[in-house]
Symmetry: C2
Subunit: 204 residues, 2 copies
Amino acid sequence: MADLPATDRRPGGRTARVRARVLDAVRAELARGGHDALTVEGVATRAGVHRATVYRRWRDVGGLIVDVIDAAGEIDWQPPDTGSLLGDLTELNRQIQQSLVERPSLALALMAASFHSEQAARAQTRLWADRYAQSEVLVARATGRGELPAGTDARALLIAATAPVYHELVLLRTGPDPAVPARAAQAAVLAAAAGAFAHPELPA
Amino acid sequence: MADLPATDRRPGGRTARVRARVLDAVRAELARGGHDALTVEGVATRAGVHRATVYRRWRDVGGLIVDVIDAAGEIDWQPPDTGSLLGDLTELNRQIQQSLVERPSLALALMAASFHSEQAARAQTRLWADRYAQSEVLVARATGRGELPAGTDARALLIAATAPVYHELVLLRTGPDPAVPARAAQAAVLAAAAGAFAHPELPA
């Protein structure tokens, strides 16, 4: 990728450049004032783009947020590959914790936005479903290495490993605890090894 | 309690009755339109109370939400006591799931509100801290029955057991899955039995 000229990495030329400028502006405005302070006018001014362009393409604040979330889904994110399930889940949790404790946190601003807008909530749900699906490879690799019983429910294991990180920082709003990523990962690995996420029997 | 006349159960007489009517109205308005539609005028009208009374005592929408959250903390909630840690955590998770899937969900509306208002966020954090502290008795009882290693970090275990229920329903917005309360409880119990929540050594 590093060899390609910038124009090739942004197919669409001017349209894509306008999108990149507008989405950068949305992220900056969200970071500055949160969802409540986001306006099409503020975004257009910051992006140096005519308001009519923003209205025509994104329609309203909800449309802008959805596109920021969709753009996050277009990033070529790869799940960690450290050589062990515990290492992979700990690193995944560290990335999640980092995204939630940085100030300003775009991740937190998007979650807040998804509480107001059904459209933003759907985009966020899609992005999360994609990221958890991508991360299932961690579980497949661990099963291949013999670290996990065959038939482990990958999604249930990933949710158990990561949920405490979100719960502490998004809902309980406790301060960032550097022990949480590894502890939550460790608990999920021990539970999985004991068969906690074995796929349930099919209904009779 | 059932023997006491109603006036004794609501110390403060008229003031307490006005509070009860106003908080009932806040819950009904939140349920109807969510935080974005909540107004002091709407609450006063629904409660049949003069607006000036609401402004004087609660000041604004943020004050009303904080008082609804504080009132939830005054309820005489008791953590489950089923005779086993797995039973207790499963029942706790069922209660949490129920509060999040009922429509309208006051619990979800209060979480949404706490994303806008620092004051509401602090009240919510206090309520949650209280509920998790109250629930530590589950872990103490299980340790007494020999179900858990001594020195288990009760809070970490409770967070691991309950976080997946919140994560699925509040953030990932997956449909209610009747298997989640028991599965999340079971995973936490297996992890705890394997020593996942042993108190860390004191720093050297």
